[in-house]
Symmetry: D2
Subunit: 138 residues, 4 copies
């Protein structure tokens, strides 16, 4: 399975009065990492692949994170992301955030692939993930 | 001119490693205050008045803030908001954020009223602010 | 066990291009709800009880959320929060976010109570949750 | 005067229901750009130079931004940052955010250099910017 790594600089504004990352910011980093993974697999930006696949996003169904080592402003952390499993219309992503090579945060996501409802263009419905998309991850 | 006051609790997650509000969060508070002011004037939520007036938002053109007294988590601040001037398609909003009755932050905004382009529904254009909207502020 | 309910207005700035809450914002709302619960139990703001108990925060160890119904700007949601279990130095919080009375998001948290290390004031260590604090939740 | 350029990817989570950057996020980007500029000038991370200069941050006194061209998720924008003027304890920063080479957002900041009060370590006071710091920008 394709894996994507990216380096993220922890900024002052990501941190709370304890001087460490305010944990909701890790979820924002993971969301951007999932997008970076798809962009790498599909060779397009999210904006482009949303148009290409008449796709309206992969909203989160269930997410979890475990916080092992705190990170603070000025840290350059590495986020490794991979899809663990593709099902018909949902899929699981796993993120490993490393600080100085050590596992600092683990993230788990279950997302659903969505499209426009042909009957009602204002409605969003879950849709089968295109085989072509899945193939790009292998 | 109509004035709207609202109380905002400063949260831990609004604050930075210095223990005070990370200033971009004040702009988010002011954006919500502008919306609260319009909601009060129009008697509808923003979601509702966007539909009612075929309005697609009041994007920011120019904004400024002056920071006089810092605020920290646990503070309940009051934000007083008012429209300073309505022009054809743009308007100015002023916010005064008070802490214990003293002026802590001042915010100034120039926004533009936008609508869908009749020729191209994907395009957003500036539009005349409806007289009916302006009348509600007086 | 004490339960705290609070109403949260979903703001435009909490939402993403799909028009619904960007899910990391739910974690920020839950963090504020945990604090509101402790503030209600202890009768002090977090700023005050951090000083009172020589307490330096309850960093997150493990958190999970399940997203059932999306929320959009203008929605007033209710967040019900309660401590599920206190252990020696860690505890579990559960949040139920309701939209129009229906369960929209569930949140689960395991946090650890921390204090200053007596040997090194710059160091933060896990500490026993004071009995007095636990008693206030019953 | 030293100038620092950095590329910022606009993320889905930076954008609002109009599909464009929620403007408070530009201020967060500018804050990180000011830090990147100082880090480049001083050859240290902010965490390091705060310790090195017994410096406790450069809180914002006055900031303004003008929004010319909207940016949306997937855009890679360039932020050019420079100090316009150093005074005794305050300084002005200017940011130019470019999209496809065109000026999209301009940001202006006046910040103050702060240090610990020798009489009261819990107090923060404005302090003279070290000559050595200023020299590094030339």
């Amino acid at each position: 399975m394709l894996k994507n790594n990216r380096v993220v600089r922890v900024e002052w504004g990501d941190c709370d009065p304890a001087g460490i990352v305010f944990y909701p910011r890790f979820f924002a980093m993971f969301d951007a990492s999932t997008t970076a993974l798809f962009e790498r697999a599909l060779g397009m930006t999210k904006y482009q692949f949303m148009k290409h696949y008449d796709f309206v996003g992969y909203p989160m169904v269930d997410t979890r994170a475990k916080f092992i080592i705190p990170a603070r402003f000025g840290d350059d952390v590495v986020i490794e992301s991979t899809v663990r499993e593709f099902r018909r219309s949902s899929f699981d992503v796993e993120h490993r955030l490393l600080k100085d090579g050590a596992l600092a945060v683990e993230g788990f996501e279950t997302r659903v692939w969505t499209s426009h409802d042909e009957k009602d263009p204002n409605k969003i419905i879950s849709a089968a993930i295109p085989d072509e998309v899945i193939a790009r991850f292998k």
